[in-house]
Amino acid sequence: MNKIQTASDLKTVRVTLVRNTRKGKTIVTLCGGTGCHASGCTTVISAFKRELKKHKLHDTIDVKVTGCHGFCEKGPIVVIQPRGIFYKQVKSKDVKDIVEQTLVKGTIVDRLLYIDPLTGKKITYEKDVQFYKGQERIVFADNGLLDPYKIEDYLTIGGYTAAVKALTTMSSEKIIDDIKKSGLRGRGGAGFPTGVKWESCRRAKGTTKYIICNADEGDPGAYMDRSLIEGNPFSILEGMLIGAFAIGANQGIIYVRDEYPIAVQTLKNAIALARQWGFLGKNIFGSGFDFDLKIIRGAGAFVCGEETALIASVEGKKGEPRQRPPFPTQRGLWGKPTTINNVETWANIPYIINKGSQWFAGIGTEKSKGTKIFSLVGKINNTGLVEVPMGITLKEMIYSIGGGIPEGKSFKAVQTGGPSGGCIPKELLETPIDYEKLKEVGSIMGSGGMVVMDEDTCMVDVARYFLEFLQDESCGKCLACREGTKRMAEIVTDITKGQGKEGDIELLQELATTVKDTSMCGLGQTAANPVLSTIKFFRDEHRFRKWFLRHSPFRFYS
């Protein structure tokens, strides 16, 4: 294989690849993401290979291990293309039936079909599953179709066409202008306009600049970044290449969580392939632009998701945030201008370049454009990853896509934004999901974690959980955050043990506000959210629990 050196090289390669893909060929796609991997997909894969060989079908039918399909609740998932037959929770003992009945005879294996929890009907095709129906997948669309270890798959569906377009036909100003016009905002949580960030970095003085992909997905209950890396790593690499070109950075870094071994492996392989094919390295597409990437693994510190802490960690120091300004776009890694964007933000770039800023700006609400991937987890029927246009309501999310609460229990709250977010009660379920609206109700968009809680979940315990998390993860640099989160955790723990005192809630509110106002980085500034929002919406529960545990004869058993 020769390196792709020009735009026409890429075109030729793609045409050949598309020609060689036989239309209508049966492909068995299996989800190989961390979730399905843990549910035993590897044995299913080998069973398929074995069975197909036995029936002498191994040359005519392909087995493709793809990234996460998103419907993790029902894993391991098997989809038979091109018909799109959807089998859930497939075990290796089911493979024989799938091969003999579906692949040989063309009939459906009834017992492996998904049953809609609302209607009780059996669903045969992937497109009819309610979980997928309510979604609008852009960034996540190709996850179930690609083998993340094969760059050819990505090229076949038009991979790197955006990069070619950007590097060979567009100026940096035009690219930045397009991203600005698209209205794309940072998907890591804060929602800063991506184009503005790029422009500031582009205009910063100096010839050496860096870009960083923040894959330190620390929010508990959020795993879309991991799934994107594991499913479609090349889209992130392509987005970074375009960004690097627009900003004028020749070196990029992907900072990825150490707790994600499969993601690290997938990225390593993707980077090696991109180098081989000439999508990384010198003079990419003959544009005279050089760019390369390296991976840095995190070492288990939540605060390293904050950009200045992340930079410190890349430099080999403790991950402590520093005062801003100067912002990283002015003085970042090694004191040079640096742009840091989240995984999902980078993955959006190729689509915006290819389809245009107007198309992207046409999706979503006035101030929040495009789609966002959420991880719907906790007490919900359809656990999984959901990509929806900004602006849909929490209710649609939980009841229509999520399929409601299991075991007929009632909904109590949904927690968004991880430890920096808050709990949203039933009364506010009509809230549309966008950056501003979620902030108004005391939570944040965050990286997209959505933990659903039912009637059994104690809200005081949830507040305690997040406070313990935060006091443990506080880096300790700012006094208010270090001590404040600790004291708040103590007070709330006392309440859960029935040792609450009069005035506790007021003290909590005062402490929370102080920590919010006097901390330097996002961790402390938002640490108050879980406490303040539960007090605001579930004040009675705090009171009741205090009262109950103090007076109830059963208090010693609870």
Partner: protein, 156 residues
Amino acid sequence: MRTADIDKILKRHEYQKSALIPILQDIQAQHRWLPRETLTYVSEQLNIPLIDVYSLATFYKSFSLKPRGKHVITACCGTACHVRGGPKVLQELQNQLHIGVDETTPDQTFTLETVRCLGACALGPLVVIDKKYHGQMNTKKVASTLKKYAKKKTKS
């Protein structure tokens, strides 16, 4: 850990001070934990004050300054696992092993650790033993799962 092995790792990272985190990660991957002598040796070789090496090794959660057992058990404490009963599973693990979090059984078989979230929330409550995921855990399954590992002969 033999100094020759540490030298190999240091060489791979070209004795760069900025590579201290990956160096310690590589050492721990081989040795399972970071002994005092190793940290001293790394500090001398890289010309970084020992206090800075120590501060880094204690700041990041993935480093262990205590010996770890043959099997490392990691209980997920993410929000999704939490609301699905993760704390009960963790408590049961502690009861069965008679150790607390970040401790090792006296016979050096098991080390119990926690993690913030592994992003496999559909499987919650989740317990990982030696990198193998055990999903939908409950207090009843804990004992039988541990038994399987206690029997397993692994090279130390």
